[in-house]
Symmetry: C2
Subunit: 395 residues, 2 copies
């Protein structure tokens, strides 16, 4: 059996302003392309220690159990649930977008019961409703929620939700896939028990790895749980043996060496810039994009107080073929923006300004390209107004 002859692949030129992956810093691509070494090599063991320290910085935590899961953010989510939850447990899941729904799937498949607290897509998690669910389910094991909903561009109040869970003796599980690096994530200050993230959002790294951190309380729960973790690959009791004390690395699985090179470099870059400076940059570019979009007559439906600067939900004007706009941006400019997901499919675009991609050049390109596409569909708007408004925001 032979395949057709296939040539090497060379990607087209792209500028990634969707919900992720975001534009990867060339330094990270170069780091990733370095020669592979062994997963038990002393040099790699040192690198692992550095990655751990850098992740602690990114998560703002001293949690000992802080490491990268060797798979994408979805696996990070699953790692949090399958390690902390046992069959028969109850978990309160707050849902205000796609990823809360995925949490429910994880809870159910772990043999536990999910009590759902639902809010409209595009709004924050209602703290009173969450508190009421906690009161109504005093024996629940955990409260789970998404900090930064990638499907809607909304940031919920993670500090308050973690505090509520903790006060009720419940663990908190939080999805910080899109938040880390873009807005403050303060694991220790919040008292968060399990927090996972992704590499392909505000860390501007290649996709495929999920940084995760567990509090000591969560780690103790994992060590003392009654039944084995249902996933061998994601069992933190085993992974700890490889990522734990450098003196006694036990083989669990072969680490994705080059992906760890890339993650390391992305975290070095974050550290060089500094978290506060990174957050401020994301904010600044968001404001310029927002001013430009509004000058174009477009609206950002999310309440300004809870908008994610790194992920901008934009309503599609009536009569506009939103898929055609995206296709044109991609074809003419190599520019990728995101479609609406789930309940927002066809109704909104998602424009990412994440990590390396959060910069003035991308803001200007996006505004001018979008303006052109809308003009071609007959939308009435004043040409040039968007970029002028963005310029004013930077001035």
């Amino acid at each position: 059996m032979t395949a057709n002859i296939t040539a090497s692949f060379h990607p087209p030129r792209r500028i990634l302003m969707g919900p992720g992956p975001s534009d990867v810093n060339p330094r990270i691509l170069a780091a990733m392309g370095q020669p592979t070494i062994g997963h038990l090599d002393p040099a790699f063991v040192d690198l692992m220690d550095e990655v751990k320290g850098l992740l602690q910085y990114a998560f703002q935590t001293r949690n000992e159990l802080t490491l990268p899961i060797s798979a994408p953010g979805s696996a990070g989510m699953e790692a949090a649930f399958v390690n902390l939850i046992e069959p028969g447990d109850t978990v309160i899941v707050c849902q205000n977008g796609v990823f809360g729904g995925r949490m429910k799937e994880n809870v159910t498949r772990a043999g536990a019961t999910a009590v759902m607290v639902t809010d409209d897509w595009g709004t924050v998690i209602d703290l009173e409703k969450a508190q009421a669910a906690i009161k109504a389910n005093p024996g629940a094991r955990a409260l789970a929620f998404v900090h930064a909903e990638t499907s809607t561009g909304v940031a919920s109040d993670a500090a308050a939700l973690c505090k509520m869970a903790s006060a009720a003796g419940m663990l908190s599980i939080l999805d910080a896939v899109t938040s880390v690096g873009g807005i403050p994530v303060a694991v220790d200050a919040w008292g968060a028990d399990a927090t996972y993230s992704g590499t392909q959002k505000c860390l501007s790294c290649t996709p495929g790895i999920s940084p995760i951190t567990f509090s000591e309380r969560a780690a103790e729960r994992i060590r003392t749980r009654g039944v084995p973790v249902q996933s061998w690959f994601l069992d933190m009791n085993l992974i700890m043996g490889y990522w734990g004390a450098a003196t006694k690395r036990a083989y669990h699985h072969t680490a994705p060496i080059n992906a760890i090179y890339a993650l390391h470099e992305s975290l070095v870059i974050l550290q060089e810039e500094g978290l506060e400076a990174s957050w401020a940059r994301h904010r600044k570019n968001h404001e310029a994009l927002r001013d430009g979009l509004e000058a174009m007559g477009l609206s950002l439906p999310v309440d300004p107080r809870v908008r994610l600067p790194q992920l901008n939900l934009v309503s599609v004007p009536d009569g506009v073929d939103e898929a055609r706009v995206r296709a044109e941006l991609l074809e003419h400019h190599g520019l990728e923006i995101g479609a609406g997901l789930g309940a927002l499919a066809g109704k909104a675009w998602r424009i990412g300004l994440m990590g390396y991609g959060s910069n003035p050049a991308n803001v200007r390109l996006c505004l001018s390209a979008l303006e052109g596409a809308l003009l071609r569909q007959g939308v009435k708007l004043k040409a040039g107004a968007a970029v002028a408004a963005a310029d004013a925001a930077y001035a």
Copy 2:
């Protein structure tokens, strides 16, 4: 909270002759370092189709459900079990090394019962014992085994085992992590139902991805199973929606774009060389290494008829500090060879000649470096005899 200032990482020079990862072809590293594009980009969708075709070639199958799992080989193993097995099932697991034991863990954690058929480490799976277990457990769902045991360097008779399973109406699940590209793997000819592999062995690719293929019978089993797959991340019913027909890709998780670039390039290289030529090259370099090792007075304990050419088990001579030998090779030559695993820890080395690393230069370097290290430990051997024997093998 701030981390200590951390610099960019630059790996030391290494030659990887352990059990994997193997030396990565520079073409693959270059492919991996190309700019990231979106996981729903039309160009990426085309790339996915190519990867699928190339994997079908590598596995020698026409199976429609053939794709890369976005995580290492351990996750590929878990994907095979959690998709095909339901709680209450019985699975016959043949174990003749480390990875058969891991299969047992997977079966148990999926709520099923593992009936173990055990053989000594370093020997093949005994077909009569396997047949007896099948006869004794007529209702078993599957027969699972490791084709090429990376912990011992033994190839078992996959064709016969798959045939036995099929004749008894059971599914076959086989681990081809170390075999694909190094020795024949003929999924369709064997009638294998679930076959998974890894990228970091004879494909010479960076670690982190697990190619997998399911027969139509297995795919039907997945589509019609009674309870949901316990892992959301590894649920093939959902993954099929992304890797299925190119016209309707449904978002499941963000694919590890750059790792897929790398896998694609590794498969293009395999296709350029051709499977038969690759197998012959692995065989040739193994023979030269074997002749050199034996000329040095070292023994290869595995029966020659079932030795893996890509993974050579070598007995540590009495009185030799095997860890010191490995440390010296690494320090003086940047050369990594593998330690014994499990029952073979301290008793054997594992020397890999995999993919790009299976070449005469590596054979010579390994022989001469090993000779020097043994001489320094007082082993009596004739200097130069090993390389001369290898040279003769190539002549």
